[in-house]
């Protein structure tokens, strides 16, 4: 791929999705965009770039979606789901015993494996949640990915990666070569399209936010901005869950890690956060628009 084409795609992706590709990710672009180019009847990346420069908005959307879609498994990394069951939910069951309601946000819900894994974990808790109002909001940038998540249909390969066989038997219905998650579990999850770079205050406040393996693609400034905005959508006693390679440390004071619970964070006292208003003034979209 020639350098100007690569620069063009980098800049486009940064502006549209916040995806911050380093200078050496040509292979990633090629592996994801070449199939897309071919599908669109184009010979290769140069032709794709030409078409994008011509301003095809549908194609731009496809490119952004192809580059930002991540591989995901059921119960990916397992540990966060153990924390959810053993640390987060017991605390919430106590703290919300009066309200009997819990709101969970999967901020990078992708094709649905994460929100449905949470739904299964909650189902496995059985009677403890009887009479509770459970809301799981799964958001993703990509409409295509959301459609798949909504359908709850997975291939034989997908249901074998991370999903215990007992869960497959219990919560899925077989349909030839594919497996569909039960309507009862599908009904526990609401799917919405959302770009984390844009305002998400309309989603309301949450007891738990899963935001795993998405911030790693953003630059520091954007990460800080998102953390500060996430802090406003989380209950003061809520939990933030990040991916194994992610942290708030060194980026923001709005959250603090929980000792011995890797990937789990608590919001700090909002007054402490308010004392440092400078940290949230840097809106990345504004900054980028100026470039």
């Amino acid at each position: 791929m020639n350098a100007p084409d690569y620069e063009y795609l980098r800049k486009l992706l940064k502006e549209r999705s916040g995806l911050d590709l380093s200078a050496d990710k040509q292979y990633l672009i090629e592996s994801r965009l070449l199939p897309l180019a071919r599908k669109a009847g184009l010979a290769g990346i140069p032709e794709l770039v030409q078409k994008l420069q011509g301003g095809s908005s549908a194609l731009i959307t496809s490119v952004v979606e192809a580059m930002t879609t991540n591989e995901t498994f059921f119960f990916r990394d397992k540990v966060p789901f153990d924390h959810f069951r053993d640390t987060i939910m017991p605390e919430i069951l106590k703290a919300r015993a009066g309200k009997r309601s819990v709101r969970i946000w999967c901020a990078a819900g992708s094709t649905g494996q994460e929100p449905y894994s949470l739904a299964m974990t909650l189902k496995e808790m059985g009677a403890a949640l009887t009479g509770w109002r459970v809301e799981i909001i799964a958001t993703d940038l990509s409409q295509e990915v959301l459609e798949k998540a909504k359908s709850g249909v997975y291939s034989q390969f997908e249901v074998q990666r991370g999903l215990p066989i007992q869960h497959l038997v219990k919560y899925f219905k077989q349909n030839g070569e594919t497996w569909q998650i039960n309507p009862e579990l599908r009904a526990m999850v609401q799917h919405r399209q959302l770009n984390l770079l844009q305002d998400f205050s309309h989603l309301g406040t949450f007891d738990v936010i899963f935001c795993r393996n998405v911030l790693i693609y953003f630059d520091q400034e954007t990460k800080i901005n998102i953390f500060n905005r996430l802090a406003r959508q989380i209950e003061t006693d809520g939990f933030l869950v990040l991916g194994a390679a992610e942290t708030v440390v060194g980026l923001t004071d709005t959250f603090r890690p929980i000792v011995d619970r890797r990937g789990l964070y608590k919001p700090n006292d909002p007054r402490a956060a308010l004392a440092k208003p400078a940290a949230e003034s840097a809106a990345p979209r504004m900054a980028m628009a100026g470039r």
Binding site: V79, F157, Q160, R161, I165, V169, N213, G243
Partner: protein, 128 residues
């Protein structure tokens, strides 16, 4: 080193399975059918058994039943690995004492995920 008994009548499948299971840190023994697998188990119980269903002489399900009634036969973690992908077969296998179930075709990711599920392999957190 933990031992895994790979039971399948196809030498190609055994070869593929051997490579995957060895890469997960197991010593591998092979058997072509249930009877041969039982002979190995009588000598020394393996920690893991990757088990095909349809085989001549003695099939995987019959083997499992016999194994679980043997002294020490409740110890190995048994993971079915079969082209039988129907829910009826899965339910029957789990009811018969299997620990996990792989629907062929399989790859290393699937075997690893299933071995992790039954505690044969430690989990490592994937970093992105």
């Amino acid at each position: 080193m933990k031992t895994c008994l790979v039971v399948d009548d196809s030498s190609i499948v055994r070869k593929v399975a051997r490579r995957i299971v060895e890469s997960l840190g197991f010593q591998v023994i092979e058997a072509e059918d249930g009877v041969e697998a039982l002979v190995h188990c009588k000598k020394a119980m393996p920690e893991a058994i990757l088990l095909d269903w349809n085989m001549p002489v003695m099939d995987g399900f019959q083997f499992l039943g016999t194994l679980r009634r043997m002294p020490g036969g409740d110890e190995p973690k048994v993971v079915f690995c079969t082209t039988e992908t129907g829910i009826d077969h899965i339910t029957k296998a789990m009811g018969g004492g299997a620990n996990e179930y792989i629907m062929k075709p399989f790859d290393k990711d699937i075997v690893m995920a299933k071995f992790q599920e039954v505690g044969l392999v430690e989990r490592e957190e994937s970093a992105a």
